[in-house]
């Protein structure tokens, strides 16, 4: 049984209550706590030594990443982050200076977005460092963006460039909070997610939630310099397009809106965020699954996100 099957079984029978607007299965849980103008967003995310960061990673960057991942999920709902609790699970022998440096990276990012760190705990974890961040945020009623609103005919957009994140970006990325809030204010975005599992995988999350399919245009997909460099480095590396589709940890915004909004969006975005690329990479279709179009024609992306290259 893989992670997704286990989660499906576990989430079948979870207890709910009247405050739940969106439960498991989107970037954040959404709760109606009785505020007239806003809904509450609630998210946790954990990073584990040896899984999400190498033991030799700079501790400030580990702290940055632990909080930035949660902020990216708030961004994916077009929300504003508010307060965080930090659980720091440490092996018996830990270096206090290293722990303080982890907090220093986290605090700096929190200050930049007005996020209060209101406590948490330290506990023992024999296997290595684990940092779990619980984050609260808010979204204006009517302005939140779920994964489930994509419609046939929508244009699919992605911010930034994809692939090769492990070369460094995964520890340093800036969550796309400003861009997401701007999008929600200025355009009728139908569905949004942050790219954490990889473009192919996260697009599938939107498609499954929205019960639609998609066609990607291969030449349009924005491939990062790192993914191109790694592809050139040798036969063992992935082709650059495959890296952009499947590497994951890009933490870019992937979203859809009506195709008539595509050109106005590109114009306005360029003025608002001149340093951040925004690319239309395909369209939403009736049906299910993902196809990809290139010079050779249209082929399916297979189930685990990998393209069959001929």
């Amino acid at each position: 049984m893989n992670e997704f099957e286990l989660i499906r079984r576990l989430t079948r029978s979870l207890p709910g209550n009247a405050s739940v607007v969106v439960g498991p299965g989107d970037d954040c849980a959404v709760l109606d706590v009785g505020l007239p103008d806003r809904l509450l967003l609630f998210k946790t995310d954990a990073v584990v030594e040896g899984v999400h960061f190498a033991p030799e990673a700079a501790p400030e960057k580990i702290g940055h990443k632990a909080l930035a991942r949660c902020l990216s999920d708030i961004a994916a709902m077009a929300g504003t982050p508010s307060a965080a609790l930090v659980t720091l699970a440490l092996p018996g022998a830990f270096d206090p200076a290293r722990v303080e440096a982890i907090y220093s990276g986290m605090n700096e990012l929190a200050r930049r977005y007005g996020v209060a760190i209101v406590g948490g705990e330290t506990t023992t974890n024999p296997g290595g460092i684990l940092i779990s961040v619980a984050l609260l945020g808010f979204v204006q009623r009517g302005k939140g963006i779920l994964r489930s609103g994509a419609e046939p005919g929508d244009a699919i957009f992605v911010s930034g460039e994809l692939g090769g994140s492990l070369a460094g970006k995964h520890l340093e990325f800036e969550p796309r909070l400003a861009e997401a809030q701007w999008l929600a204010q200025h355009f009728a975005v139908h569905a949004m997610i942050d790219v954490s599992d990889g473009l192919a995988g996260d697009l599938r999350h939107i498609l499954a939630s929205s019960r639609v399919g998609a066609e990607l245009n291969a030449p349009s997909i924005p491939i990062s310099r790192e993914a191109r460099r790694a592809a050139k480095a040798g036969a063992a590396a992935k082709p650059a397009l495959l890296a952009a589709l499947t590497d994951g940890e890009d933490f870019e915004l992937l979203f859809t809106l009506a195709s008539r909004d595509a050109v106005p969006l590109l114009d306005s975005w360029r003025k608002a965020f001149p340093k951040v690329p925004l690319t239309c990479i395909g369209k939403i279709k009736e049906g299910e699954g993902v196809t990809i179009r290139d010079k050779q024609g249209v082929r399916p992306l297979n189930a685990d996100g990998y393209v069959h290259f001929s």
Copy 2:
């Protein structure tokens, strides 16, 4: 550097914002999110295999404990729990049936208190199972109870019986939510905490936050049957009183109120909760530190919570 010193260093420079009513250092963080009648409570707590439960513990009880510890912290502020996120960090080789049983224990407890489980995540943790629960709750404005309100002359009360929790109670305890909410509605409780580190340690948290001292009356301290049994079992075991003072994981309510309220409280409590003992165990004094009175006189409790028995 021990855990408390590390926390002191880490919490010195945490970022805040205008929503923070109570940050690190109480049972829960307290946030003012703009609700006219209520404040938000925010708490995380983690349990780790080999630290908070034995690998052979029944999985339903592990799930129960993971959530019950957080609920106990909401109780300590006289709050009402609302929604939880669950982070389940698992070693590479895990048994799905065991994971489902952990959830089953958690879900049953959540349903009993109307708590929605709105998501979370599973991740890899090489060292063993770690479960972190993030919990939201609410408290009526003006009805929340902090650690910092104890006053000289207050009577000190504790619910239940103390010591020997590791014999089984630590996996099965019922959080004292009903009792705490009743207390906040009917009496002017000055300070409250749940007993997780042990009576002596948690009383010190109240005293430090309130800048007062305390005198305990040794014969009054309610000692559990398990602590008495363990003490009788042999010379290696702790004396029963020492177990009640220091064992921890009792998850009872420890609180103070004006001494004039002590007798009315005992009368009303007996009617409201006939099966739950409530005991006056001492009084708050000017100054600092804890002394304990018994037939031989008054002696200090030393810094690590242990009594010097002559």
